[in-house]
Symmetry: C2
Subunit: 550 residues, 2 copies
């Protein structure tokens, strides 16, 4: 079996027709959902690209792998999906974005060259790069945000899009009426068509690379996993024609927000409500510009997914390929008076998670949904099992989804955990916090969602049964201390998990019991009668004598 | 400045005359204490050799580095004392024991050969090995406990002690009256003199190697840290003449134990009270044999320390060498109905910690004691500071002792933490636990000491103010829930520490704020007026046109 692990960046869980969106038809996402299981309570380990992805790729919580923000390097030697799958004879490829920052200092300390196979995998988060393009070719006074080469920019140049950074000048810009560039960085331009042929824009380009990949791999024998990782619908919010005007203000839902959220908010939430992106999304004109573009970007993703699915069907690859559709986090889009992601409301922390398993064992669940509390770290164990392996649960902290796919009801986790480190942000400055104080934790048990904040703040508590919109922070009053205490107990239980004993498996421990005795470590003997003579015979016999000396 | 970081194995905190032992004179330990500071509340991060040492050497808690039991490999890339000191231009050498198990699988995954300099350091816990000898040359039906070469066994062979394993046959054995070997593994033989010349036994041998080392280093210019790590007074409990009969039953203190400890004990404590070593040490004849030998071994350590100190004084090295005397854990010796170490009573978890700092700033504290809650992980930061560096507190979890040495009173930790993983032991089997359930944590605030046990057990609580002997487990009754809750809060605070963000320092985070903006990541602009034009000028100007195409 092969695996297509497809990620969209910043795709909200509810912007798909199979998830109930009333104005956005996504027939191809729905087509996969109809063949597989749609997990309706799937959460990311951190509502920000880099940290979330490092959890997806390592199968470990953020505070276990430590790469807690964009650009914080994943430390050298941390095991990834690629390490686990290659051991099982499955190749592991990257097509698109990881947001991985290599641990250059650690690699230098261990003498690993990025030019070697081992070094390249360390630098690419364990993947072999078919195409690596992180998709954010920002360029400012201090140079490029991403210092690597951009295959997409190179592609654009071959297609006649000239300049240093055609990504910025064409793919992510429109044209003003006066002929000037209309940068996609500015929300005011989100309704303009990108200055690029649709087929040359990022999503079709990466889809083509994926089809190339499958075609090439199909010539060989080995099984493979490919992480196909689209940058869209992530900002800049601009999309080429015809997607730029498929949606309009009539399709923009009312923001999911309430005045009570601005009434004496939790200090961290308050700081986020006051930041630049939140202020922008609090403006209705911004939402009216951005949301139709965001929907257009998703519609384009769906059409390209259709193209890929058609190819897989035509070539028979649907029969032997597991397909996962997911996202690294959501997008507030003005909900809760916020923009971007970064906190733990459903709009940010819940993700789409659709899994199609072609195997017969999964036939009973096709087209169903599953409301178990699923975490992004569950995918690596799912893939290990799909590759025929046993989950190394002293390293991987997630759990295989296979039982759910087979229609079983396994004993399951009691809460989902997510974490967020906002130490590099203006909110940290505003609140006057040290980096280590800027850490947030979500504990969600399927009904109550608590946020713990380091730095001496009170928690936040929502009851999603009585308040599914998450407007009413119950921790403002004293009435819910029992629920808070219960969630703190679940939190402490999670904190006490055994996360770093990664060099020794439970099986090895159990089978190694008594081994030191068999190697002559006998520290508890009074006179030797306590253990069989075979353990002590090396220490019996006539006393030897020193034969000569100096 | 140089550093002599001297460790004795299994040396109880209270078996030194400077710590109040009434029958064991240790003038040379006392001599260092008189020149430095003796820390009277120093705790190990785990009361077992391997895990404790990995914390000493990494400056990190056991659940941070993950090597939680003897022989559990320290994962490749985990940074050690050697990594931190070499960055500061200080060499870092090993003379003796580390109990390090290399992460062979991780090294193979990263292509590191143990023959390379980098690989050798990975395999030796970051040290350059002057002499590496772990000192436990146990030999049983499955071969040697330690598969490496033994420089000490090789030394013995050159001195005429023949056979496969002269360590076992001479250094750790006496002679029966009938001429048979009397193995030191059997407590019944602890009163016999070891069948070896005193000057050839382990402690003098390693002391000589240390003097050789200092002599050689003194020819050069560079500064160095040497970890001098004696195997003694660790078992096997047997010592050469004249130390074998310096102490007798008149010097054996009454065991620190009480019948109340056996009355419905905590299940984990009960399992330990029932194990083989505890049963042996519950016998008074065993204590009468073992404790005089243990004292003899310490007396020999003290004499050899005197020899080393004399050498340092004669050569002027006392003026530029920091000296630390400590141990990796204690030894129950029958206290609390227990033998060995493994739990959190003072006899096991408290260690000697004497620090002599030759610098003038430390003059005000010479000969004093300090009762701050010190942890073994405080040494690496102390050494980093001594080497002129800034403590990388995103990696190191301990705190430099330098302020105490200068007579300051820094704001300090509120509790000491220790951990113990007993998953490989017979006690785990007896209690029917999975490996991950076999984890114990100590939280000690200087008065109350709590043990939390995974696996669904109640905690243990001692009040060392009213019960310094630690006989009365207050958690058996309900009267102390407030203290237990308070200690669980301290525990949770510790559990929430930021332990794995090791690739990014707090300083880097603070100085990096806003960096992505300066690299053209501009996700919050409505119309571009929100930021200075220098950030947006790359996205302005006439819209470009595609020049040709296909």
């Amino acid at each position: 079996m092969n695996i297509l692990f497809i990620m969209y960046d910043q795709l909200r869980f509810d912007y798909l027709s199979c998830a109930g969106h009333s104005d956005l038809e996504t027939p191809h996402f729905d087509r996969v959902a109809a063949k597989g299981v749609r997990f309706t309570n799937a959460y990311v380990q951190s509502p920000i690209c880099g940290a979330s992805r490092m959890s997806f790729y390592t199968g470990r919580y953020v505070s276990s792998h430590g790469a807690s923000w964009n650009g914080f390097p994943l430390r050298v030697g941390e095991q990834t999906m690629g390490d686990h799958l290659r051991k099982l004879g499955m190749d592991c490829w990257l097509i698109g974005k990881t947001h991985m920052q290599a641990d250059a200092e650690g690699m230098a300390r261990l003498g690993l060259s990025p030019d070697s196979t081992i070094g390249a995998r360390q630098a690419e988060c364990g993947f072999d790069a078919w195409v690596r393009d992180d998709g954010l070719w920002g360029h400012g006074p201090d140079g490029f945000y991403d210092e690597k080469r951009s295959p997409y920019n190179e592609y654009l140049k071959t297609k006649g899009y000239e300049g240093d950074n055609p990504w910025a000048d064409f793919a992510n810009a429109g044209i003003e009426e006066n002929g000037d560039m209309a940068s996609g960085w500015m929300f005011a331009n989100a309704d303009k068509p990108a200055n690029i042929r649709e087929e040359d824009s990022e999503t079709p380009w990466l889809t083509s690379r994926t089809i190339d990949f499958v075609e090439e791999m199909s010539k060989g024998e080995g099984s493979w996993c490919a992480h196909v990782s689209f940058i869209k619908p992530h900002w800049p919010y601009i999309v080429p024609a015809p997607y730029h005007d498929m949606f309009g203000s009539q399709h923009v839902p009312a923001a999911n927000r309430h005045e009570v959220e601005r009434d004496n908010p939790h200090p961290v939430l308050g700081a986020y409500q006051d930041n630049k992106i939140a202020q922008a999304f609090q403006r209705e004109d911004v939402r009216q510009k951005v949301i139709p573009a965001y929907m257009g970007l998703i519609k384009q993703c769906d059409d390209q997914l259709g193209r890929l699915l058609d190819y897989l069907e035509e070539t028979g690859r649907m029969d032997d390929t597991m397909i996962v559709l997911t996202s690294d986090h959501g997008d507030y889009l003005g909900d809760h008076w916020l923009g971007e992601k970064d906190l733990f409301h459903e709009a940010a922390v819940k993700i789409p998670m659709i899994v199609f398993d072609p195997r017969q064992e999964a036939d009973t669940t096709r087209g169903t949904t599953c409301d178990a509390l699923v975490e992004s770290i569950d995918l690596v164990p799912t893939f290990v099992e799909a590759a025929g392996g046993t989950v190394p649960d002293h390293i991987l902290e997630g759990r295989s989804l296979a039982p759910w796919l087979r229609g079983e009801t396994p004993d399951w986790r009691r809460c989902a955990i997510s974490e967020y480190d906002y130490s590099p942000t203006p909110q940290a400055v505003k609140l006057g916090l040290t980096p280590k104080e800027c850490r947030l934790f979500m504990v969600y048990d399927g009904r109550y969602k608590m946020m713990h904040a380091e730095g001496g703040f009170r928690p936040i508590l929502f009851d999603l049964k009585t308040d599914p919109e998450e407007f009413h922070d119950l921790a403002k009053a004293d009435a819910h201390q029992a629920e808070i205490d219960r969630l703190y107990d679940l939190f402490a239980q999670w904190l006490r998990r055994c996360a770093q004993r990664v060099t020794k498996s439970d099986d090895e421990i159990q089978s190694g019991r008594g081994a030191s005795l068999r190697k002559g470590i006998l520290p508890f003997m009074v006179d030797g009668s306590e253990v069989p003579q075979e353990f002590t015979e090396k220490y019996r016999g006539p006393a030897p004598q020193r034969v000569d000396g100096d």
